[in-house]
Amino acid sequence: MTDRAGTPILEVPVAEGAKDQHMVLNMGPQHPATHGVLRLVLEIDGEIVVRLYPEIGYLHTGIEKTCEAKFYQQVVPLTDRVNYLDPLSNNLAYCLAVEKLLDLEIPDKAQWLRVLLAELSRLNSHLIWLGTHAMDIGALTVFLYTFREREEILRLLEAVAGQRMMTSYIRVGGLAMEPPIDFLPRVQAFIKTLPEKFDEYSNLLTGNPIFKNRLKGIGYLSAEDAIAYGVTGPPLRASGVDIDLRRDMPYSSYEKFQFKVPVLPDGDTWARYLVRLDEMRESIKIIQQALDGMPEGSVKADAPKVVLPDREKMKTQMEALIHHFKIVTEGFNVPAGEVYQGIECGHGQIGFYVVSDGTAKPWRVHMRYPSFATLQALETMCKGGMLADVVAVIGSIDIVLGEIDR
């Protein structure tokens, strides 16, 4: 069979030796447990999954193509929309890549605030994962609890960026503006309440025999398979591979922070749950260190041709007005070259591959998002298991379809 262009198209390949009693079951794209518009084609033998085939692309919006038509600074808002649960990590990865191309020096304060915000964003992502994962299993209460805390994080993000979800707060060359005066005390007050809240979740879930029985021993992924399929982040560390880019290839002054990287050897859904819970506690420690040691100074790099001037200066100084006008209307030229910047977000490793041809618009922006690779390991995790466990496994790898389809 061929399509109109003459390229052969294949049907969803049928496993060799498929037996008559096997049933093909379609799950999604509209299904509450697929966390978006993921379609799974499952071949089942009774209740046992024989084969699983993920079908994606329902949310494809061509963000990478759109980037090529925008100025470098205009790409930042697009990155928010890729993984809308962890917006600041996306901003950060993109800005670090462009700053590497520009060879910009970022002031300490901006770097520390970036760390603080990236960790808040990670907490946001993990809280949603915890709520929805527990809800998939049937523990509805936790969902309400985690969304209560998430609401606080969104209010903090609103305080700095004026936006709850699509923050675009991290910009090329630093941050959009100084955070409000009461921002750091508010973060401090918020993270003080968190350990108690995490204990609450633990009481509801970790000690809950039904939850434990649903998760323990299912969705096994070995370390070799995890590496072979490109799995990153908490699922990789739950399979016993001790790698975290924040510690191992530090960016944005993560090397100045002390934190543990939780690793568990079990490789099952339960291990992935425990790793993320521990990670949330480590995030609090990082935020605390960022608050304690917050350096003084500016939040923008000293690069008038790249960074927009303050409104005050723009209205009083001719030079600043000219720079403002030039950046807004013509963008800024970025030296030719190609860079890849990898960072660790809530789901795993984000990578931004930015190619510049020396003009004000990127020649190519490619986004490597963790869920895209992790999804390939889903079949290995679900094969031979029960159909009902597929939902638990999808919850445990914490995918966001926005970042898979881009």
């Binding site: 399509d3 994606i56 494809h60 590497k100 590496i227 591979v241 990578g351 591959y353 390939q376």
Partner: protein, 168 residues
Amino acid sequence: MSESIKKTLSSKLEVLEAMPNHPAVQALQRWNSEAWVDARFDRGEMTLTVAPESILEAAAAVQAAGYNFFEDMTAVDWFPSSPRFQLSYHILSHKLLERIRLRVLLEETDPAVESITSIWPAANFFEREVFDLFGIRFEGHPNLRRIMMPEDWQGHPLRKDYPVEGYR
């Protein structure tokens, strides 16, 4: 290597001279010093250009040298220059905590290259994406179908001669 990070090395000769002990350079040199055609060290990133027909062997060579984790793969369309397409493979080493970029240049007519899914199954979706959006074929790929666009879509949207707003 920290002292050379600021420096740009723009040819294979310079890289061989300045960084002969780089594990990936050594691995490729041992494997086949003819088949890797160019190298570039820029902004702390190592780019190694490999002849299109030998990407599978080159991938195996760097994997054996400790670059165990396939991180990313994508294409760049340099239209209207020639060679038109560039494939960039980003490979990370968990042990050396270092990343290299393998680069392959392809001509415009019938661009095709061997699939590396036999070495890293993770490349499966990434190669499908490049096939879908750039129209580059991967020989030996287990399931080379469109992944983002509908199956009856015409054209390859990430090519530079495909308009941003699409055809109307």
